[in-house]
């Protein structure tokens, strides 16, 4: 009896082992390349946050000194604050607009491919061109289109947009939503194709209206896609860099505290001051934030799957 159980147990173990091996064989081709060339350097970079290193001289272990230094640097604190504000506004706005666009462009309408391409355009267009057009609309001069609109339609004072400390983040957020919504729209479009027509047909038979169909079929069915979009959006928001440099840096590349973001700070520490340890410490802070958000989301996704 005991032997039989043991044999069964062994059998199960062997089967699980085989299953593991099959799974690893699926992962291996990507993971090997990823582990050696990306994960390795990343782990090293994270270790570097406890070191002092300039890329050439010997690394020196300095404990938490990098962290105490960056947390007493107002440029870092400002960049952390700006990045969080930026992400809090950009993530939900972009998500909702991208989903709305995707649903709109998933209808059978004339010129669908044209409109899809056009929506994707700001994402692929040269950043210089997109920023130049943006700066024409949102110019700090009174004659700019947006300022004319503010003065004549809303009867409020014109704004200095990217040129003023209190409106620069607003300008960057609006710009970013506009530039990136097409990208996330494409992901949602692909997600929408995965929803079976049967579900909608069944709902229609039950007499559900479009709104109910959207809430009870589209939203839950898109959950994996939304998980992906939320995580990627959050990560990309926390990693925002070139948009800020383009809009707030302008012709002299000076980004001051009002628009400083984390990756800009990291870039400055790494390549202007060659303090790779401090850059890594800042990155570790960013990493911790994103990891927390991801784990929370991940839990949420699993709960949904278990429901």
């Amino acid at each position: 009896m005991a032997e039989e159980v043991y044999a069964l147990d062994k059998n199960m173990k062997r089967r699980q082992q085989k299953r593991n091996l099959v799974a690893y064989s699926f992962i291996a081709p990507n993971f090997l390349g990823f582990a050696i060339f990306t994960l390795g350097p990343i782990i090293l970079a994270l270790i570097m946050s406890f070191m002092e290193w300039d890329g050439s001289n010997t690394m020196k272990f300095i404990g938490l000194q990098n962290f105490t230094e960056i947390f007493s640097d107002d440029r870092f604190l400002a960049s952390l604050k700006n990045t969080i504000i930026y992400s809090i506004f950009t993530v939900p706005f972009t998500l909702v607009i991208a989903l709305a666009l995707a649903i709109l462009l998933n209808q059978k309408i004339k010129g669908r491919n044209f409109f899809r391409t056009v929506a994707f355009f700001p994402y692929v267009a040269s950043l210089v061109a997109v920023a130049a057009v943006w700066n024409m609309l949102f110019t700090p001069a009174k004659g700019g289109i947006m300022n004319q609109l503010l003065m004549n339609v809303f009867h409020v004072q014109p704004l200095k947009w990217a040129a003023a400390s209190n409106t620069v983040m607003l300008t960057i957020i609006l710009f970013s939503v506009w530039k990136n919504m097409g990208y996330y729209m494409v992901i949602y479009l692909a997600g929408l194709q995965g929803i079976s027509e049967d579900l909608y047909e069944a709902a229609a038979l039950d007499g559900a209206n479009s709104w109910r169909k959207f809430i009870h079929i589209t939203v839950p069915q898109l959950k994996p896609t939304t998980f992906f979009v939320t995580i990627m959006l959050t990560i990309n928001c926390f990693k925002v860099y070139d948009i800020v440099y383009m809009l707030a840096g302008g012709s002299n590349g000076v980004v001051n505290k009002s628009a400083m973001v984390l990756v800009y700070y990291i870039y400055e520490e790494a390549f202007r001051n060659w303090k790779l340890g401090r850059a890594s410490a800042s990155a570790l802070v960013l990493f911790a934030i994103v990891l927390t958000i991801t784990i929370v989301q991940f839990r949420g996704e699993k709960n949904y799957a278990n429901d």
Binding site: Y24, S56, N57, T58, A131, A141, R272
Partner: protein, 450 residues
């Protein structure tokens, strides 16, 4: 799983090994102070090798091959004397040059023999990284006369050691559009103007009629165009930690901005208007800018792109009351030898040549101001086709004192960050000049004090 884990650990350890390995070979002071002695000892042998005709290939890091006129002539001139040496140019791009060069020189695997140094903060970081060879022993051994560089080399010494030799030097001058002055019936600027006279002149030639504005002055968005005017009396430097001296200059420019004498900073910054385009527009009467703009102006006028500023001239920078005219800012471009260079001695020979007299002549013939200047060099430049024919413009190239835009200081890049930020705030009108100066004083003193 275990196997993956092992392989990823292996990967990590490989990386760590490769990096700590590099760490050892370049370990800061210890070896870098020994190495020059070693290479000096070898010099006899390898210099002999250069002369004996054994083929050597030098790798030279630089930027903008396609738009820089002097690289190939310099190489041709050198290889004509040393037929066994070939020189390979490696273009790292101008926009991210310092980042790319810094990465390339990290660790010990770089095979560059000569690197061009673009700016002082980039130079200082490379020196701090222990990536550059000190040149003092070589300089004294070969009897290079540093006095020919007009004192500039003293401003880039770090802890008494020199790690680069300049070959190009750009000074700041005041460009002006003669047509605008003729039309307004105002006399041209001169080589001897105080800042007050300059301010009055700019205001005189300004026209604020909407639609046909003439701007008396133009300041590009850089900090240098305003803040550094204050160091030209020689009493202050930009790395001292006290910036009270910048106040009159900010006041002057803010006043001009308010009265429409110059364009609005916020607009210039967001619109991304390049200073060359601003001057080419034909509505800017004067503009302070570096001498690198001479070559651009001549070329673009020749190409037919610039049509509204063809009648231009230049004069010396305005000066503070009681200071000799001809004091101005300068920027140098220099050559250095990485500690990892495979052919250090041939590299030094090349650096010496380019920064020396023969290199200077080649530079001047291509319309660029070499770091080593004299009357002959000024003559060569002024005779260039397209250079303004008036005597004042030629005279403008002669300087009395030059001050580097940023002297070498091991906190250069951090100081610059503070100064740039406050400059931006002042010019955007977000803080008063006094508040900004206070912030600059406190910020920089905190950095220096560290």
């Amino acid at each position: 799983m275990r196997r993956k884990l092992i392989s990823s650990l292996l990967a990590c350890s490989m990386i760590i090994a490769s990096i700590t390995g590099c760490g050892k070979t370049t370990t800061a002071e210890g070896s870098s102070s020994q190495e020059p002695a070693g290479s000096a000892a070898e010099t006899g042998g390898e210099a002999g090798q250069a002369a004996s005709g054994e083929p050597v290939n030098l790798k030279w890091a630089l930027w903008d091959i396609s738009s820089t006129v002097y690289y190939q002539p310099l190489i041709d001139a050198y290889t004509a004397e040393h037929p066994n040496v070939s020189i390979e140019m490696v273009d790292l791009g101008s926009t991210d040059y310092s980042t790319v060069l810094g990465t390339q020189l990290s660790g010990s695997g770089s095979d560059f023999d000569v690197v061009t140094i673009k700016d002082v903060p980039g130079y200082v970081t490379l020196v701090n990284k222990g990536a550059l060879e000190p040149l003092d022993d070589l300089i004294s051994k070969d009897g290079v006369d540093l006095s020919l560089y007009n004192g500039v080399t003293d401003q880039v010494k770090i802890d008494g050691k020199l790690y680069e030799l300049p070959f190009r030097s750009d000074i700041w001058v005041l460009y002006y559009n003669k047509d605008i002055f003729d039309k307004a019936g105002v006399e041209y600027p001169t080589n001897d103007m105080t800042w007050d006279q300059y301010d009055a002149l700019c205001r005189k030639v300004t026209d604020t009629t909407p639609g046909s504005e003439i701007y008396g002055s133009h300041y590009h968005t850089w900090r240098s165009t305003i803040q550094l005017d204050g160091i030209l009396d020689g009493k202050n430097t930009i790395v001292d930690g006290n910036y009270d001296f910048t106040k009159p200059y900010y006041d002057m420019v803010l006043g001009q901005q308010k009265d429409g004498v110059c364009m609005d900073y916020a607009l210039l910054k967001t619109q991304g208007l390049h200073y060359s385009a601003a001057f080419a527009n034909g509505n800017v009467a004067t503009m302070n800018m570096g001498s690198w703009f001479i070559a651009t102006l001549i070329q673009k006028i020749k190409d037919g792109e610039f049509t509204d500023c063809t009648n231009w001239g230049m004069v010396k920078y305005p000066h503070a009351e009681g200071v000799e005219p001809g004091s101005t800012l300068s920027t140098i471009t220099a050559l250095a030898i990485p500690t990892t260079a495979p052919n250090k001695d041939v590299a030094w020979d090349f650096v010496k040549f380019v920064s020396g007299e023969k290199g200077a002549e080649v530079m001047a013939q291509t319309g660029n101001i070499p770091a080593m200047t004299n009357d002959k060099i000024v003559d060569i430049i002024a005779q260039m086709d397209g250079f303004p024919q008036d005597e004042n413009s030629k005279e403008a190239l002669v300087t009395s004192h030059t001050y580097l835009e940023m002297p070498a200081n091991d906190k250069s890049s951090e100081i610059e960050t503070v100064l740039n930020e406050q400059h931006d705030l002042i010019m955007n009108g977000e803080v008063s000049v006094d508040e900004a100066i206070k912030a600059m004083n406190e910020g920089v003193q905190a950095i220096i004090g560290k």
